[in-house]
C-alpha cells in the first residue's frame, strides 16, 4: 500500500462516519442532549472557543510540565539506581507501589495535602506520578543494557564512571528512554484529566473540568467538543514524541531504519 493510500483511507472513513452520524441524528430527530450532530458540536466549539482554548492551555501546560519533570526525575533516579545496588534494592519496591496504585485513588489525598487553593500543583503531582514509571523503568532497562564487551573496553582504557555513563550507558538507553517518553506522554495527559475530575467543582479550569461541567448542564455538544480537543492534544503529543524519536535515532537505530530487502 502506498503512502497516499495510508493517509487517505482513514480520513475517508472518518468523513464517512461523520456524514452518517450527521444524517442519522437529523433523520431520526435524536435530541441534542442525547447525541448532538457533528454540526452541533462544531457550533458549540465555536461558541465556547475562548473558554475551551483557555482550558486546553491549562491542561496542556500541566501535562507538558509533568512530562518534563517525569523525564528529569526518572533519568536521575535510574542513574542513581545504576550507581548503587543498595539504593536500587531499597527503593525499587516503592517505585513499583507508585506505579500500581491507581491515580484516582491517590488523588483525593494529594488534593487535601496540597490544598485546593494550589490546585495546579496538585494536578502536576498527580500527572507526574502517572508519567514517571514507564519512563523510569524503560530508562533503567536501557542503562543496564550496555554492551558488556564495550563496557570492558571502557574499563581497559581507564574510563571514569562519568565517561561510562555519558558515552556508553546513556546513548545505549536513548531508544528505551524515547519509547518510555511516548508512553508517559499519553499517560501524563490522562493523569491530568483524571486529577481534574477528582478535584471537582469550581477549582480546576482544564478540559477535564469543562467536561464535568458541561455534563452537569447537559451540554453534550460542548462535552464532545472538549473531548475532541483532548484527543487532538493526545495525538499531538504522541506524534511530536514519535518525530523526536525518529529524528534522534534515524542515523543508527534498527527501529528507525527502512528495510532494504
Amino acid at each position: 500500500m502506498n503512502r497516499a493510500a495510508q493517509i487517505i483511507i482513514p480520513i475517508a472513513l472518518g468523513i464517512a462516519v461523520l456524514a452518517a452520524w450527521q444524517f442519522l441524528v437529523r433523520f431520526y430527530g435524536v435530541p441534542h442532549y442525547v447525541l448532538p450532530a457533528p454540526s452541533d458540536i462544531w457550533v458549540a466549539f465555536l461558541e465556547n472557543f475562548s473558554s475551551l482554548m483557555a482550558s486546553l492551555w491549562t491542561t496542556l501546560s500541566i501535562t507538558l510540565i509533568a512530562m518534563a519533570l517525569a523525564f528529569a526525575g526518572s533519568v536521575l533516579l535510574a542513574i542513581l539506581f545504576l550507581q548503587s545496588r543498595i539504593i536500587e534494592t531499597a527503593l525499587y519496591p516503592y517505585a513499583v507501589i507508585l506505579q500500581v496504585t491507581p491515580v484516582i485513588a491517590i488523588a483525593p489525598l494529594i488534593l487535601i495535602w496540597v490544598g485546593l487553593e494550589r490546585i495546579d500543583t496538585a494536578l502536576l503531582i498527580l500527572a507526574w506520578i502517572v508519567a514517571f514509571f514507564p519512563l523510569f523503568a524503560n530508562t533503567l532497562l536501557g542503562l543496564k543494557s550496555a554492551d558488556h564487551n564495550l563496557a570492558d573496553l571502557f574499563r581497559l582504557y581507564g574510563a571514569s564512571r562519568w565517561q561510562l555513563l555519558w558515552k556508553l550507558q546513556l546513548p545505549t538507553a536513548l531508544p528505551n528512554m524515547l519509547a518510555g517518553a511516548r508512553i508517559s506522554g499519553g499517560l501524563a495527559l490522562i493523569g491530568t484529566v483524571v486529577a481534574e475530575f477528582a478535584a471537582g467543582s469550581g477549582t480546576a479550569t482544564g478540559l477535564g473540568w469543562r467536561i464535568v461541567e458541561a455534563g452537569n448542564r447537559l451540554e453534550i455538544a460542548k462535552m464532545f467538543a472538549a473531548l475532541a480537543l483532548l484527543s487532538i492534544a493526545g495525538i499531538a503529543i504522541f506524534f511530536s514524541l514519535s518525530l523526536l524519536e525518529y529524528w534522534l535515532l534515524r542515523r543508527w537505530h534498527e527501529s528507525a531504519l527502512k528495510r532494504q530487502i
Partner: protein
C-alpha cells in the same frame, strides 16, 4: 626481559567452572603469539586476565617493564552503533580526554591504515562485517598500543575477508612493532600469523605445547601454498589433536 609473564595462573569462576589451571607463559616484546585450542579451553579467559578485566584466582600476571598501552579486539566488532566510524575509532583517545583536531587526525589515520579512508562518517550499520571489524582494529591501534589482544577477531568472517585482514594485521604488527596475543581455533590462521603457537588443552585450560614457527619476512597468498607452510600447519594440527585427547 619479557613484556609479560603468567606464572602458575589459575582461574575458576563463581559457578565452579575451572577455566584455567596452572598456566605459565612468557611473551617477549614484538612477538606474535597465538593461543590455539578448542572452545572452552580458557583462551578468552587468559586474554581477559592479561587485559586485567579479570583477576586470577591464583598465580601472578606481571609486566616487568610496566603495563604497556593495550588494545583489545573482540570476536564481534563491538562498535557504538550511534557513532560514526571516526568517533568509534577515536574512543581510546576520547577516554584519555584527548579531544580536538589531533585526536580526529589520529583516528582518521588509523582508519586509513586499515583501508577505510573515506568511510569516516559512515555508521556501523552502513558497513559490511569485514569493514566493521576493520573499524574495530582501527580503534585498537588509534590508542597507539604496544600490546594488542585479539579474541577470535576474524572467526565470524568469510574466508576471503579473513585472509585479507590477516595480511593487514601482519602489516600493522610489523610496522608498529606490536606485541600481539591472538586467540583462535583455526590451525591455518595461527600457523600463518604467529611467531609462536601456544596450544591449549580443554577444561581446565593448560598449556599443552609451545611451538615456535620460523616465518619468512614476507607472507602472502602464495606462502599459504608452500611446503613450509603445510609442514608447520601439520605440526600445529598434530599438536592440537594430541592436546584434545
Amino acid at each position: 626481559m619479557p613484556l609479560l609473564t603468567l606464572s602458575h595462573v589459575s582461574k575458576s569462576f563463581d559457578n565452579g567452572v575451572a577455566a584455567l589451571s596452572d598456566v605459565d607463559l612468557r611473551v617477549a616484546a614484538g612477538e606474535f603469539v597465538s593461543l590455539l585450542g578448542p572452545s572452552g579451553c580458557g583462551k578468552s579467559t587468559a586474554l581477559r586476565l592479561i587485559a586485567q578485566l579479570l583477576k586470577p584466582s591464583s598465580g601472578e600476571i606481571a609486566f616487568p617493564n610496566g603495563r604497556p598501552p593495550t588494545g583489545f579486539v573482540f570476536q564481534e566488532p563491538t562498535l557504538m552503533p550511534w557513532a560514526d566510524a571516526l568517533t568509534n575509532a577515536r574512543l581510546p583517545l576520547d577516554l584519555e580526554h584527548k579531544n580536538g583536531k589531533e585526536a580526529d587526525e589520529r583516528a582518521a589515520r588509523a582508519l586509513a591504515r586499515v583501508g577505510l579512508a573515506g568511510f569516516e562518517r559512515a555508521y556501523p550499520r552502513e558497513l559490511s562485517g569485514g569493514m566493521k571489524m576493520r573499524v574495530s582494529i582501527a580503534r585498537a591501534i588509534a590508542g597507539a598500543p604496544k600490546l594488542l589482544l585479539m579474541d577470535e577477531p576474524f572467526a565470524a568472517l568469510d574466508e576471503l575477508t579473513r585472509q585479507s585482514l590477516n595480511d593487514d594485521l601482519l602489516k600493522l604488527w610489523r610496522e608498529d612493532g606490536l606485541t600481539v596475543i591472538f586467540v583462535t581455533h583455526s590451525v591455518f590462521e595461527s600457523t600463518y600469523l604467529s611467531s609462536r603457537v601456544v596450544v591449549m588443552t580443554p577444561r581446565p585450560g593448560r598449556v599443552a605445547v609451545d611451538i615456535a614457527i620460523a616465518q619468512p619476512g614476507n607472507r602472502d597468498a602464495s606462502y599459504r601454498l608452500t611446503p613450509e607452510f603445510s609442514a608447520n600447519a601439520a605440526k600445529v594440527s598434530a599438536a592440537l589433536r594430541e592436546a584434545m585427547t
